[in-house]
Amino acid sequence: MLLEVAELAVDLPAPGGSQRVVDRTSFSLAEGESLGVVGESGSGKTMTALALMALTPDGARVSGSIRFEERELVGLGEEAMRQLRGDRIAMIFQEPMTALNPLHSVGAQVAEPLMLHRGLAKGDARRRAIELLERVRLAEPERAARSYPFALSGGERQRAMIAMAIGCSPRLVIADEPTTALDVTVQARILALIDGLRAESGMAILLVSHDLAVIAGHCDRVMVMYAGVIMESGPVDAVLRRPRNPYTLALLEARPRPGAPRGARLATIPGAPPAAPDHRAGCPFAGRCALTLDQCWTTPPPQVAFGANHMSRCHRAGDVGFVR
């Protein structure tokens, strides 16, 4: 296994103590595999991604185990972590508008990790940067390398960000909502580009998104997060066609669907996610769930297995119906 995460927890400092924003999160990722992480804002998906790179905000406490290439990353020093970042593990950010420094040319920014991790001289790094920009199919890579971020469109900037991320041939790329800030046609092309790069280089992708359609189309497996815990995980087909968790089902039913009658209201999930979930007392989704039992309020739900890889964390996992 390339990446094995076990019982990961992240505590952020909060007024009057700390708040657990990621809890009991375990998953693994093989070479060349693509794992989607889906959930609403505040579900802990970005914090999980940041924890993998030890980039959690100041004061955050990370516990559990993150094994990457047979190496334990939790508790690894900052210096050793810095050598991994951008080299073995890279990250693509959500906002290509703000993730590039406005004061440096695109070429210089793409060349930066190459000089840092590969010890390339400036000229060589520049030439390699242009090759990378070509590889992410930026039109006129030489002109793009000379331009400053403001001169590029959102899609072009995101391609530049991807070029920056893949420069050192990382084994794991974490893409945190890589297409959320882009319009739909550009989104499709960027995702196709990431798929192509994965097929070429065999890198693994952790794709964080709130968009089920993106996950369905571009991932092998998916994990659904809610209030900091994994509610359901498994192969994309199994989870999305036959969800075993009421939260996944509710998410799927809240999708806008083609062919719905005119004027039909979109299904929603009543209520709001808990502000500070207490993971020792019951299921965080209990207050919004259609299938709630008394024990949902008092006992943390068990992990129920459906086949080899499909898991649902629910007291009533067996009762969850088919998607209509």
Partner: protein, 279 residues
């Protein structure tokens, strides 16, 4: 092309007027290095308190010194004090501010509390305390004013650096494996430079005022050095006979400070595209 477009529209008038006044100040100092109408410290008692004339453009003071020469020579001290005091402020202030922004925790708290402590004393009081301990003189005045500049720059550096560090490209740089020193020089400093340049200009003006005040009190420039503040002090003795003697250094100080403030405002408008977009 883009530079012309970027510089013209706003801040135009104050930028150019400020630059002209500051340019005149620098020119005066440069000229005085090689030429003044008379040696600025040459006493000529028979011609004391002479009114302005072709021989003495601004007249002479109560010891017969040529006022025009003194004004020219005085600009040197003002610039010297401004440049060195602001450099001290920038060197230590930027270093401390960056350290605070990157280190966080106790280090940040310590640096900021210390800054607050130094900042709580008025500039002039700091200067008087230091010069009275170390003795009067231009060098000690410069140190005193420089020390006052440090917390001002440190606070600004920390605040603006924290702003840059919260941007996604700072996180992206860390995700690319860059260390704090590289991020400080490549990402933070270039992005906060405009704010620092503007503040340095303002601190330059404050330094000129502070030097004039210290010299006026006898804690700055010592004879035979000439300073605008010392000229004001000398003029005070003959204020009723020759009020114009207070006018010349007063106007010189006012124009210099005005010029630097205008330049600072103009630079802020020219360097900060966000501010410009809003207006």
């Amino acid at each position: 092309m883009s530079h012309a477009l970027r510089f013209r529209p706003r801040g135009g008038a104050s930028l150019w007027l400020g630059a002209a006044l500051v340019g005149a100040l620098i020119a005066a100092a440069a000229v005085s290095l090689v030429w003044t109408p008379y040696p600025p410290a040459a006493i000529d008692v028979p011609h004391r308190l002479a009114p302005p004339s072709a021989a003495h453009w601004f007249g002479t003071d109560n010891l017969g010194r040529d006022v025009a020469s003194e004004i020219l020579a005085g600009s040197r001290i003002s610039i010297l004090v401004g440049v060195v005091a602001v450099s001290i402020g920038l060197a230590f202030g930027v270093a401390l501010g960056l350290l605070a922004a990157f280190a966080k925790g106790l280090t940040e708290d310590g640096i900021m509390k210390l800054s607050d402590f130094v900042f709580a004393f008025p500039a002039l009081l700091t200067a008087i305390m230091l010069t009275s301990t170390l003795g009067p003189g231009v060098v000690n005045a410069i140190i005193a004013i420089g020390v006052y500049n440090v917390p001002v720059i440190a606070k600004l550096t920390r605040a603006t650096a924290n702003g840059v560090l919260s941007r996604e490209y700072a996180l992206a740089a860390r995700a690319a494996g860059r260390g704090p020193v590289a991020i400080a020089f490549d990402h933070v400093l270039p992005n906060i430079a405009p704010a620092l340049i503007v503040q340095a200009t303002i601190q330059f003006a404050i330094a000129i005022l502070a030097e004039a005040a210290l010299s006026y009190l006898g804690l700055g420039a010592q004879p035979p050095q000439t300073s605008w503040g010392k000229m004001l002090a000398d003029a005070q003795n003959v204020l009723y006979n020759a009020p114009r003697l207070a006018l010349y250094p007063g106007v010189a100080i006012a124009l210099s400070v005005l010029g630097l403030n205008l330049l600072g405002d103009g630079l802020r408008d020219a360097l900060d595209p966000k501010l410009k977009a809003r207006t």
